[in-house]
């Protein structure tokens, strides 16, 4: 994991001091609300429905046990003892006091964490693949590049007042687990024809009220040019993105209006001025960044032996076997596995975690996974480097702590935004809908048999719950003051990304569990063998689902 040097510490300390002074001036009445707004947002602070919300960055999802313990301390001391893992891998506090935010930032800075640009019309936290560095299908580890981008984007003087927020995601594997095609910029690390590290650059993707799949505007950009090329993109956007209408201000609207081809030409013309300048990455920097993401001290293990022992344990315990199937995945290192701790037990808001649980995760990380974990955009926690021989012991501890629900990737591993219970933007609640659906599908064996299904819920069209790319997407809408839910089917966030199609008129909240049940029934009736939901949907189309869900009671 990246370790701060004196420069990083100095910059972050100065940021905390800056915001402390800004908060002081705001509370003294010297800064009007309108001017304080972007200052607090760029330090992660929203004013929410019930209280402020503070979004803490988890750069590309990496956390160590010291940071987890600090987060536990912060949630206990400054909040109500729980926090929320967001769909952009960040941690959110729901009840901090504005006056105390500078102190929270100072506590975070001590453990090399921050809320810098976690909100506002600027470059946001860089997100990536939760299995970076360990995935069997990885081509290039994206984390050193994420860290280079984190530093480049943090306090960037030119791009702090963009037309709108700006999100960058990086993937370095064959299978895209970072949803890069629905980001303002998506970067795919590849090897070029000579085997050198390069980027495929997608631009103009995004969800929100106008969902768009990003356009590939540059193939195999040599790695040393990434910063100057990104500056060229940002500069075109900063100058020409719309500022007259916030709903048309994202870069996707500009790319669409110009066409991706013309946009790419403009970027290239700008880049011609910037290329080969001081922003060109040097070997030393790439090597320095990579030096923080070397392999941990893996033991040399016999994978066959470890697997045999596991199989025997799984044969003994069906529950353990199911957990292995759903919550444990392969690892490039023989004898090791990656474990996903589920933050989606029924009855808990998806992604919520308490201070005590954070400390348990820290202890588990120290005991089983070299003291590190990753947050995922599906709102779970990954322990990336667990010995297969330790899995049974870890499973037992995870069960006690409530993290062992064997539902990763299934229908009940629901992605949900905080929704109307917390968020002032929301049209409708998300959490009770998630819970009602989890209760409808409380038969674990049944859910398990259904296989991979992404069910995503957003409480409004800002789409924090990524409903457009859920196989089943649910969107909260407001109809004359009453909460309704629109259903979309067929979205997908992976390489063959697609946006869901609206099923039809929206439903009342109490209808939702039955609606989802009917959708699943149609799938089960039409499924060929072990066919996945998304594949069945793509084969049979939306019509049979529509027919069943909207059938008049006879």
């Amino acid at each position: 994991m990246y370790i701060y040097d004196d420069h990083d510490h100095t910059i972050l300390r100065q940021r905390v001091a800056q915001f402390r002074d800004q908060t002081r001036r705001y509370l003294a009445g010297d800064i009007p609300d309108e001017h304080f707004l972007p200052l607090r947002l760029q330090n992660g602070l929203y004013i929410q429905r019930l209280a402020p919300m503070l979004r803490i960055n988890v750069p590309y999802g990496m956390l160590n046990s010291t940071q987890l313990r600090t987060l536990a301390h912060i949630t206990r001391t400054y909040d109500k003892g729980y926090c929320h893992v967001s769909t952009r891998q960040n941690i959110q506090l729901n009840w901090p006091e504005l006056e105390e935010v500078p102190d929270i930032l100072a506590e975070l800075a001590k453990v090399e964490m921050h809320c810098t640009q976690s909100s506002g019309n600027c470059i946001r936290n860089i997100t990536s693949d939760q299995f970076a560095g360990i995935a069997e299908d990885e081509v290039i580890d994206p984390r050193p590049y994420c860290e280079i981008l984190r530093q480049w984007s943090s306090f960037h003087p030119e791009f702090a007042f963009l037309p709108r927020k700006f999100k960058i995601a990086v993937s370095g594997s064959e299978r895209d687990r970072a949803a890069i095609q629905v980001h303002d910029i998506g970067l795919q690390l590849v090897r070029d024809s000579e085997g050198k590290t390069a980027f495929n650059v997608y631009v103009g993707g995004g969800l929100g009220r106008t969902p768009v799949i990003g356009s590939l505007i540059r193939e195999a950009l040599p790695q040393e040019h990434i910063l100057s090329y990104l500056e060229a993109i940002l500069r075109i956007y900063n100058q020409f993105g719309r500022r007259d209408n916030k709903f048309k201000a994202r870069i996707k609207i500009l790319v669409k209006a110009m066409t991706p081809e013309v946009f790419a030409e403009k970027v290239n013309a700008e880049w011609a001025h910037l290329k080969d300048g001081y922003n060109t990455l040097i070997e030393d920097e790439i090597a320095r960044a990579k030096s923080y993401f070397t392999e941990p001290a893996y033991e040399v293990l016999d994978d066959g032996e470890a697997q045999q022992a596991l199989d025997a344990q799984a044969a003994e315990s069906v529950a353990f076997g199911k957990w292995l199937q759903r919550n444990v995945r392969g690892h490039k290192q023989p004898g090791y596995a990656a474990v996903t701790l589920s933050l989606k037990p029924t009855g808990v808001a998806p992604g919520d975690v308490t201070d005590k649980q954070l400390e348990v995760i820290a202890d588990l990380a120290d005991a089983f996974s070299f003291g590190e974990v990753r947050t995922t955009h599906e709102q779970n926690i990954v322990m990336a480097d667990v010995k297969k021989a330790d899995l049974y012991a870890l499973w037992q501890k995870a069960k006690v702590a409530g993290f062992a629900t064997p539902n990763i990737g299934t229908l009940t591993d629901i992605i949900a935004c905080p929704g109307g219970d917390f968020c002032s933007l929301a049209n409708a609640k998300s959490i009770p809908i998630a819970e009602a659906i989890q209760r409808q599908f409380d038969d674990l064996d049944y859910v398990y048999d259904l296989g991979d299904i992404d069910l995503n819920i957003s409480g409004c069209m800002n789409a924090c719950g990524h409903h457009h790319v859920g196989h089943i997407g649910i969107l909260g809408v407001d109809k004359k003051g009453e909460e309704f839910y629109q259903v979309q089917l067929g979205g997908n966030a992976a390489n063959d990304a697609s946006l869901g199609a609206v099923l039809g008129p929206a439903f009342k909240s109490e209808e939702m569990p039955q609606v989802v049940q009917k959708i699943i029934d149609v799938y089960v009736d039409n499924r060929n063998g072990d066919e996945l939901f998304i594949d069945t949907f793509r084969r049979i189309g939306v019509a049979p689902f529509k027919e069943r869900v909207y059938a008049k009671a006879s």
Binding site: F155, F161, Y278, N279
Partner: protein
């Protein structure tokens, strides 16, 4: 006389700013004395205005540095306007004037920018700050020029990004 912050100090503002003309820019009357004219007036009357040593040009947020282009290098002053503080186009305009068009004169922010933008504006090459709001305490505001002393990025004030300085 109105005041402004220039190179960190509070001084008298000796320039007047000519608003955009309602009629034809070619017919706009440009007063004598140090004056900052809109881009459209500069473009329409360049032949005469370029003879004067006391004419600067201001760019609105929807006008780019490229529209002034090579002319910038011969001007004593260029101003970038903030119609509202959240309109961040001036940051790019300023940087391009300095880095691409080698503008060496006074680069002035005018309009509705706020104190808390001063450090980033300075980094983008702006060295003078004329707030639209005359009630602002400029000595206090100038403290925000140096909110940071260390930076990751290359910019006008520090052309070497931190990674190049770390490596040396």
């Amino acid at each position: 006389m109105p005041k402004l912050v220039k190179d960190g100090a509070v001084i008298d503002d000796t320039w007047t700013l000519l608003e955009k003309p309602e009629g034809e820019p070619a017919e706009a009357e440009v007063p004598t004395g140090a004056v900052i004219v809109p881009l459209s007036v500069w473009q329409a009357q360049k032949d005469t205005l370029a003879q004067r040593p006391d004419v600067g040009v201001w760019l609105d947020s929807d006008e780019t540095a490229d529209q002034l282009g090579e002319d910038a290098a011969h001007l004593p002053l260029v101003a970038v306007n903030f119609p509202v503080f959240a309109d961040g186009r001036a940051f790019t305009t300023a940087r391009v004037l300095r880095e691409r068009y080698d503008f060496q004169g006074e680069l002035r922010a005018v309009g509705h920018f706020i104190r808390d933008q001063l450090c980033y504006l300075r980094r983008c090459g702006v060295n003078a700050f004329a707030f639209a709001d005359q009630s602002i305490n400029l000595e206090e505001a100038a403290q925000s020029l140096h909110d940071f002393s260390e930076y990751y990025q290359a910019s006008v004030d520090q052309p070497l990004p931190l990674f190049r300085r770390r490596a040396s």
